[in-house]
Assembly symmetry: C2
Homo-oligomer: 213 residues x 2
């Protein structure tokens, strides 16, 4: 365990790169272990299954991101009584960009992995995130509710899930969308630019006028 980093980390590093490039189902454990130069069976020894490996890859980011986001939000709450909705969403930008210090291109990697993971793995990732980071999520959801208190709880439930869909899908296809925008509109975007485009959309959606039908 000296000259080369330990097996577990080697697997995580190789898996994260391949998952982000090719997606989860298109990335076999045989490919991961050959790139990481470890034995195939070591994945099952260290992680138990491919699904748990996926969760572990995401957890390395979530463990950094979630506390950062909560701290930033707490600080803002201490400063002002009422936070405009769009600003609640904007709180997430700095913690996301901090992930670039964790690993090169960390922000993009994390958001792609999160988007693809949420989308490809019907259920198990949703469960993992809500059980392991539930307090952070509740804190954020509460802040959103407080910023637009006139929206009923049930409506807020739906609109926050619409928002989840927006962000997850956008991040999963961010690469393709940036390519199209470059080709068709001569726009050069990075992941931060995309985040800043989607925030006003989500804020307007959550705060949409009520139906009276």
């Amino acid at each position: 365990m000296a000259s080369r980093s330990d097996t577990k980390t080697r697997i995580l590093d190789a898996a994260e790169k391949l998952f982000a490039e090719r997606g989860f189902s298109e990335t076999s454990l045989r490919l991961i272990t050959s790139k990481a130069e470890v034995n195939l069976a070591s994945v099952n020894y260290h992680f138990g299954s491919k699904k748990e490996l996926i969760r572990a890859v995401l957890a390395r980011y979530l463990d950094v991101f979630m506390p950062l986001a909560t701290d930033e939000l707490k600080q803002l709450k201490a400063e002002k009584q009422h936070i405009p909705l769009e600003q609640v969403f904007s709180v997430l930008v700095n913690p996301l960009l901090e992930l670039n210090k964790l690993r090169p291109d960390g922000t993009t990697l994390f958001l792609q992995l999160l988007g693809r993971g949420y989308i490809e793995s019907q259920g198990h990732l949703r469960w993992f995130i809500t059980t392991h980071y539930g307090e952070h999520l509740s804190f954020f959801v509460d802040a959103v509710s407080e910023s637009v208190p006139e929206i009923p709880k049930a409506d807020m439930f739906w609109r926050l899930h619409f928002t989840l869909g927006t962000i997850v899908f956008t991040m999963a296809s961010a690469d393709a969308l940036m390519e199209i925008a470059a080709a068709d509109f001569n726009e050069q975007n990075d992941i931060e630019a995309v985040i800043r485009k989607v925030i006003p959309y989500m804020a307007a959606g959550v705060n949409a006028p009520q139906l009276t039908a």
Copy 2:
């Protein structure tokens, strides 16, 4: 080809039901063919591959839905010069509900299949839909642009893709969301209710105020 419906239709019917229930990757051809009581190899004979079977399942709905939606939109355009954005989205409701006449629970099945398909199959379904139904899509996109002409084309590109994410993710998880809403808020929703909830969200998002950063 007399006493029981033909093999091709038996496969499509069984596949559509299983795909909607369990998703595409979780549904094996062996399961489909055993439920349909046909031979495994007949899928390859009639459809060529699993991907093409998925496309064929969706095509049965799209071939009905797309012309209906275009007709409805053309009729509305003939009636009034300027159509409010939310009304452009609402045009899709009746064509969607018409699918219930095609098959029992057709609307729900179609939207679940579309959502899951767009999400699970990175690319091939997107390509299939844009090449086979491109004119219908362009007609709809143009109507959206005309209803909010002040939004630049590039911004509209991003916002329509955000909208795609919203609708696709919502429909793919509609069952789970309706269950949660029933348990937590004592709300009884069907798929039409969900559609009518998401339309104001999307309309507000597309029409969100511009950033001036």
